[in-house]
Structures are given as structure tokens and as C-alpha cells.
């Protein structure tokens, strides 16, 4: 009798979980389809708009907003000189570059001093609207060709703290926060400033653009000379992942003014608004999402119509983790950042005061971004348990897995299609086939690693395991041999 009751209970749990996973999966699939429609509209709209505001028009204009590019650097000696060269070569008429040396323990600062002929300035009276770690010295170049370069040397306080120091020192309307290891497209600022020039009834508080992966590409004088697909599989799959995330995800959100995250590697912000909310939060590793949410909350509270926008073009290139260990560390950090941010702003959850953000966007992030790894992990556990209990019908299960796998393949293929149709970065048959293969291998070889990294991050948060940013070893970019430079 007891055994029968137990079997009934297992069956009951089995069916409840089955329906939960089915419902969750169906919602996710519906959202993806919706995202495809929205992002296609958004990409087309952006292309049409761009015809009426071309970069050539902007570059010759006089009253456009000035921009400061802020790039924190911590032990970046391998790539810093090359990257600063790239950042100095950007096209924009009113543009300053601030490199914040965040207490590097290697020779990052010395390399900058030597290469760019820097001299220090008195920093006794610098104003700090956002409190940061102590700023030791401020350097500027003696050479005229580097006059827009400023280097701030400060005690280590983390990336957010370094960004805040840069924002404090900037004297421009807009600030672009990036990483010193990013390669930015030459006309990126001209394109990024477009939304600020064109909007009239909503204030643009932040603008982001797609980020691409540059592993194994050739960089010459800080500019991408030849874009190549990465040689190894891990970064190759990340190319597909980034295309899908930026083109389907963020462009779709942008279309309905639902963007809450502008990537920390490349985000343009209105400086006055960032100062009003006291800059980046130094206590979280998900500082970009946290700032995005705080900015939107602030704008809702002061009742100013606002927008956070995304551009579909890839304007920034970065090196992706090249091996599993680094990848797990990165995703672990992202997961912790997400957890921290969601916890910090839990008051938003179905809070009508914050309108769409409280009712839709934040709950989406809670359920489908924060929740997805948990649901996947639970799914895996239940699969193991119910297999042991003999409750799984393997014929149906295999067919169901195949359907889900094919759906995933369709979403990735559509992203690649939108990318190939609209952009010319990967346009040979070989490259497209490689991208498609990477996309089809992703669920088997890559996705489990991601879930592992994310669950590890959540575990650390739940059980209070201390962890910081972690190191990401960089290979540095391939540069052309000296005789060709």
C-alpha cells in the first residue's frame, strides 16, 4: 500500500515537473520567435535611419556632443600600447581618451609613460562627484598628436571604481566606457552618437552596440586589418553566441525600449545622468546591468521619458576566452553579477510604479535570464532521477530532444542569416558553413560548460563563497610583422 502511494507521488511530481518544463520551454520559444520579428524590424529600421544620418555628415558637423572614452586598465601590459593606439585613432571631432590605470602591478603605466611621452599634473583639486579610491597622479602627453590622451593613475579599486574615476575627470556630455583590451571600429563614435542627435521626445541615457570576437584576427596599428573566424572551437561558438545575443536579444529589446543592459565593454552614457545615480556600483561584478537598471529606475522616479538603445552594427571587438577554464570563470562571474543585480533591485518585481520595467522587463530577466540555468540544471537532475525510477519514455524523450535541438538550430541559423544579410564581416561560404557548424555543435560541446559556470556562480552566491573578478589570460592580438607595418 505504502509503495503504491510512493509511486503515485513520484508520478505526480513527474507530471508536475513535466508540465512546468514544457510551459517554461514554450514561453521561451514564443519569446524567441517574438524576438526574431522585433529584431528584424529593428535592424531594418536602423538601416533606413542610417541613410539619413551618415557618418560623413556627422564628422563634419560642429555642434555635436563631445565624448570621453574611458578605458580602465589593470595589468594589461601585453596589449595596452597597441590598444591605446587603436583608441587614439578613432574618428570623432570632439573626443578625449582617458586610460585609468587601476593600480596595475605590472609595467602598464610605465609602458604608457614611455610610449606616449606622458608627464604628470597636479591632482590636488580634482573634483570627484563620485567617490573613488585615491587618485595618485594624472598624466598628459607632451606630444601634440596625443593631446586628447589623459592617463589617471589610481589605487586599485576594480573596474567600476576605475570607470567612476574616469567619469569624474571627464568634462564632456557623453562618456563611453570600454575595456582597454577592446578594439573599437574607427567610425564607432560617429555611429554611436546618432541616437543622441536624433531623439527629441525621449532622453537617451545609454547606447550600446554589438560586440564581436576577434581571436586569431590580424590587427594592424590598432585597427582590425583582417577579420578571421577563431581557429579553435570555444571562441568560434562564442562568435555565434554573440551574434545571437546582440542581434536577436538586444535588438529586439531595443525595438520595444526594453533594454536594461548596455554591455560594460562598450557603452555610451549621458555623463550627467551617470553622476546623478552615483556612477557604477563597485560592490557588484555585474556593474553594467546594475547601472542600466539604476539609470532607468532613476529616470522613472524623476519622470523623464527616456530610452536605452542598441545599434545592430558590430562596433567593438574583443578577445573571447580561449579555453574552458577561463570560460567557466567568465560565466561564473556573469552569473554572480546577474544574481547580485537582481537581488539588489528586487523591489522592481511586478512593481507598477516602474511601469513596463517593473511589470515586464525585470520579471523577464528574473524568470528567463536568472532562472534559465536553474531550470536547465533541475531538468538534468530530474532526468537522472526519473530515469532511475523508470518513468521516462525514451522514444518520446529522444524525439522531444531532437525537436528542441532543431528549434535551437533554427534560432541560431536565423541569427546567422540576419547577420550575413545585413553585415559583411563573415561573407564567404566557408565562413558561413563554419559558423553554422559551430552553432549546431553548441548544445553538445559548449552549452553544458556555460550552465556549469552559471550554476557555480549561483552556488557561490547562495553559500557565500567569496570570489572576485578572476583573471583572464590574454593571448594578445595577432599583429602584422614589422616590415609590413
Amino acid at each position: 500500500m505504502v509503495i503504491l502511494v510512493e509511486i503515485d507521488l513520484y508520478y505526480y511530481i513527474f507530471w508536475i515537473l513535466n508540465y512546468f518544463f514544457l510551459l517554461y520551454g514554450l514561453c521561451l520559444i514564443a519569446l524567441y520567435f517574438f524576438a526574431i520579428i522585433l529584431s528584424t524590424r529593428s535592424v531594418n529600421r536602423n538601416k533606413r535611419k542610417a541613410r539619413f544620418l551618415q557618418v560623413n555628415d556627422i564628422v563634419s558637423a560642429t555642434d555635436i556632443p563631445s565624448i570621453t572614452l574611458i578605458a580602465p586598465a589593470f595589468n594589461e601590459s601585453k596589449t595596452i600600447v597597441e590598444n591605446v593606439k587603436s583608441l587614439l585613432a578613432l574618428q570623432y571631432p570632439y573626443y578625449e581618451l582617458i586610460i585609468v590605470n587601476d593600480g596595475s602591478t605590472d609595467n602598464t603605466l610605465q609602458l604608457l609613460i614611455d610610449k606616449y611621452d606622458l608627464e604628470s599634473f597636479d591632482s590636488t583639486f580634482i573634483t570627484q562627484p563620485i567617490p573613488t579610491s585615491t587618485v595618485n597622479k594624472i598624466y598628459r602627453s607632451r606630444k601634440l598628436q596625443f593631446k586628447q590622451l589623459t592617463v589617471i593613475d589610481k589605487n586599485n579599486g576594480g573596474k567600476s571604481d576605475a570607470n567612476n574615476a574616469g567619469i569624474n575627470f571627464a568634462a564632456t556630455e557623453l562618456v563611453l566606457c570600454t575595456d582597454a583590451d577592446c578594439i573599437i571600429e574607427q567610425d564607432a563614435l560617429l555611429k554611436m552618437v546618432r541616437p543622441y542627435l536624433e531623439e527629441f521626445n525621449q532622453e537617451i541615457v545609454a547606447c550600446g552596440a554589438a560586440i564581436g570576437i576577434i581571436n586569431d584576427s590580424i590587427v594592424k596599428n590598432g585597427v582590425v586589418e583582417k577579420l578571421r573566424l577563431p581557429d579553435s572551437l570555444i571562441p568560434m561558438i562564442q562568435v555565434v553566441e554573440y551574434i545571437r545575443a546582440f542581434l536577436l536579444g538586444r535588438m529586439a529589446w531595443s525595438e520595444i525600449n526594453g533594454v536594461m543592459l548596455v554591455s560594460g565593454a562598450f557603452g555610451l552614457y549621458a555623463r550627467n545622468r551617470v553622476i546623478e545615480v552615483n556612477g557604477f556600483n563597485i560592490h557588484t561584478v555585474g556593474e553594467d546591468l546594475e547601472l542600466g537598471i539604476r539609470l532607468r529606475k532613476h529616470m522613472e522616479e524623476i519622470k523623464v521619458p527616456h530610452k536605452m538603445v542598441y545599434l545592430p552594427e558590430t562596433l567593438c571587438w574583443t578577445e573571447a576566452p580561449n579555453n574552458i577554464d577561463v570560460l567557466i570563470k567568465q560565466r561564473d562571474r556573469w552569473a554572480r553579477g546577474l544574481w547580485e543585480t537582481m537581488t539588489l533591485h528586487k523591489d522592481l518585481f511586478f512593481n507598477r510604479k516602474y511601469r513596463d520595467m517593473g511589470l515586464f522587463y525585470y520579471p523577464y530577466w528574473m524568470v528567463f535570464e536568472l532562472g534559465a540555468p536553474i531550470v536547465e540544471f533541475l531538468g538534468l537532475l530530474s532526468l537522472i532521477v526519473f530515469t532511475m525510477l523508470g518513468l521516462i519514455n525514451w522514444n518520446v524523450a529522444i524525439l522531444l530532444f531532437t525537436s528542441i535541438y532543431l528549434l535551437g538550430c533554427i534560432f541560431s541559423t536565423i541569427s546567422i542569416f540576419i547577420y550575413v544579410k545585413n553585415f559583411k564581416h563573415y561573407n564567404t561560404g566557408k565562413e558561413v558553413i563554419e559558423l553554422l557548424l559551430a552553432a549546431y555543435l553548441e548544445p553538445f560541446l559548449y552549452h553544458p560548460i556555460l550552465v556549469l559556470g552559471q550554476i557555480q556562480g549561483y552556488y557561490k552566491k547562495i553559500f557565500g563563497v567569496k570570489s572576485g573578478w578572476g583573471n583572464m589570460d590574454r593571448k594578445g592580438f595577432k599583429t602584422l610583422p614589422k616590415e609590413r607595418l
Binding site: N272, V420, V432
Partner: protein, 353 residues
């Protein structure tokens, strides 16, 4: 769930996947073919222009032959994308050529297809076609359509009305200020920039009558636009217009006013007025910008003003004021202030004990 349903679903998904594959392949093949086609149109057009501008001795350009050549590369009404590409080429060429050749080319373009293509776009229901038509009209200098552009200046679509407003400025110059400060809808920063630039490029001598009449507009975008014009044309006699907005309650207007005033030097009276307005600005960052400007244009250090800020301003203003005084030889005043702060703090601590 029945296995048959899932098998059907898998078949459907496979079919979708194959369709998307096909779309990728088609898109790549089409792009290659299209690039070749556009190159062909471009080279044909380049040949036509060069032969027209620099014909061989004793050889007249044959318009019928030109039309045949264009038709042969696909410039026919049934292929609007090819026609559009040709129009873009015409605009690009016209932009890069000046003098006698410019006039010759303008004449050529009226004689070869497409005919009236830009004007016909003004009736399109799609905003991007309409806006494109307007742009082509002003880029190709077709001033006969000015009235049509004036009608579109308040269009619902931002791009249509923006292009129409730019066209009006190009064709009417300073007279356009009869309309622009009284539009029904807000103007973007880019519209303002373009209007000021076009005035500066095409009508460099300011018509103050039209400008000053526009001062009556109370629309925020018009205030910003006029301030930008005053700045661009360096109208020192009209600085008072900018100064009145320095402490405006609206952030954007203040921002534009501070930005525009920064290009001018001021008289002692104007500087005094600015200093008075300084206290009414609610945003510290804007106060900071104005403070730096005041310091930059002042001949001497106005000690009472700076000391007042040092003792009564916000922390950031105090620090910036200290910086200015310190670097201008008033170190004692700064030291005295910090000493005063220190003793005040010590006193308050002793009281609390």
C-alpha cells in the same frame, strides 16, 4: 505527447531549417550578383559623365545613345533599385564637382532618365521613400519644389519633416526663419545642427531682420536653434539673447546656453550678469562648466565672488574654486579656508564631547 506528433514537428522544423539555409545561400549569391550589377551601372555612368564633360574633339554627346546605354545596364522604371542607385551616383557626382562642369552636369541630369523620380516620391506612403525624395530634391538643387517641401515641414514622421526643413533652409536661406521657429513639433539636435550648417555654408551673411523676428518664439527648440545661430555667426551684439537662458529652468536650454556663450568674450556688465545667474543654476555640473568659462574669460580674479563660492558653494564648486584661486596666486585664501574648516570641525567635535 504522441510520438507521431513529435515526428511531424521534427519534419516541419527540418523544413524550416532547410528554408533558412536556402535563404542564406540565396542572400550570398544575390549579394555577389548585385555588387557586379552596381559596378556595371557605376562604370557606365562614369563613362557617360566623363564623355559628356570632356568630349572628343568634333564629337557631340548623343543623348539617345546615352539613354540606350543606361537602359542596357538596367536603368528602367521596372527596376526601381537600379534607378535609385543611379540617382545616388548623380548626387555623389554633383556634390564633388564645382564651376562650369557642375552646371553642365546639372543640365545632363535633366535630360537623362529617371525623369521626375524624386518629386514623385513625395506622395509615397512610406516615410523613408518620402524623406529620400526630399533629400534628392535639395541635393539636386530642384528649387521648383520648395512649396511642396514647406507643406511637409510639420509631417508626422521625424525624418520627413527634418529633410523638408533642411530643404527649406537650402532654398530659402534666412527667410526660412519665418517658419522654423514656429513648427508644431519639437526639433532634434541634428535638425538644429544641419540648419545652422546649411545657413553657414550657403548664406554666410546673416540676415538679422529675419533672425531677430524669430526671437519672439517661445518654443524651447527655437531658443536653442537661435542660440546656435548666434554662436555660429559670432553675433556679439546678440549675446544678451543667450545670457537670458543661462539660468533657464530647463536643463537642455541651459546646456545649450552655456555651450553657446563659451564661444564669446563678455563685457564687464555681461560678466556681472552671468555671475548673478550662476547662483540660480540648479545643476552642479553646469555650474562647474560656467565657472570654468568665467575664469577663462575674466581679466582679473574677482576675489569676493570666488571667496563667496569657496565658503558657500557645494563641495565640488568649493574644490574647483580652490583650484582656481590656488593656481592664480591666492594660496593664502585657500589655506585660510581650509584652516577655517579645520577649526570649525574641531570646535563642533569639542562641543559634542
Amino acid at each position: 505527447m504522441k510520438a507521431e506528433i513529435l515526428i511531424l514537428l521534427i519534419k516541419i522544423l527540418l523544413l524550416v531549417l532547410v528554408i533558412v539555409f536556402g535563404s542564406i545561400a540565396y542572400s550570398m549569391i544575390y549579394r555577389r550578383w548585385r555588387t557586379k550589377r552596381l559596378q556595371l551601372i557605376e562604370s557606365t555612368f562614369a563613362k557617360i559623365c566623363s564623355l559628356y564633360l570632356y568630349p572628343a574633339p568634333n564629337e557631340e554627346s548623343n543623348l539617345i545613345e546615352i539613354q540606350r546605354e543606361l537602359k542596357a545596364v538596367g536603368i528602367v522604371p521596372s527596376k526601381p533599385r537600379n534607378v535609385q542607385y543611379l540617382i545616388d551616383l548623380m548626387i555623389r557626382t554633383q556634390r564633388s564637382i564645382l564651376g562650369n562642369n557642375y552646371t553642365k552636369l546639372k543640365k545632363l541630369f535633366t535630360q537623362i532618365p529617371p525623369y521626375g523620380a524624386s518629386a514623385s516620391k513625395l506622395t509615397s506612403s512610406k516615410w523613408y521613400i518620402k524623406a529620400r525624395g526630399i533629400r534628392e530634391i535639395y541635393e539636386m538643387d530642384q528649387s521648383q519644389y520648395t512649396r511642396d517641401l514647406i507643406k511637409l515641414r510639420n509631417d508626422d514622421n521625424i525624418y520627413v519633416r527634418r529633410e523638408a526643413q533642411i530643404g527649406i533652409v537650402i532654398f530659402l536661406g534666412w527667410k526660412s526663419l519665418r517658419f522654423l521657429p514656429y513648427l508644431k513639433r519639437q526639433m532634434t539636435l541634428w535638425q538644429q545642427i544641419k540648419i545652422v550648417e546649411k545657413l553657414n555654408d550657403l548664406y554666410p551673411i546673416p540676415d538679422l531682420n529675419h533672425l531677430r523676428r524669430a526671437y519672439n518664439s517661445d518654443r524651447p527648440y527655437a531658443n536653442e536653434l537661435i542660440m546656435r545661430i548666434i554662436r555660429k555667426f559670432h553675433l556679439t551684439e546678440d549675446i544678451a539673447y543667450i545670457i537670458q537662458f543661462i539660468d533657464n529652468p530647463k536643463f537642455e536650454i541651459r546646456e545649450a546656453a552655456i555651450y553657446c556663450i563659451s564661444s564669446f568674450s563678455l563685457s564687464a556688465e555681461q560678466l556681472r550678469e552671468i555671475k548673478e545667474k550662476f547662483y540660480h543654476i540648479s545643476n552642479t555640473e553646469q555650474q562647474l562648466m560656467l565657472l570654468k568659462y568665467i575664469q577663462r574669460i575674466s581679466m582679473d580674479i574677482d576675489l569676493p565672488f570666488y571667496k563667496d563660492l569657496l565658503y558657500n558653494g557645494s563641495d565640488i564648486i568649493k574644490l574647483s574654486t580652490a583650484d582656481i584661486l590656488w593656481n592664480n596666486g591666492y594660496k593664502e585664501e585657500v589655506q585660510e579656508y581650509y584652516y577655517h574648516q579645520y577649526t570649525q570641525k574641531a570646535d563642533s567635535e569639542s562641543i559634542s564631547v
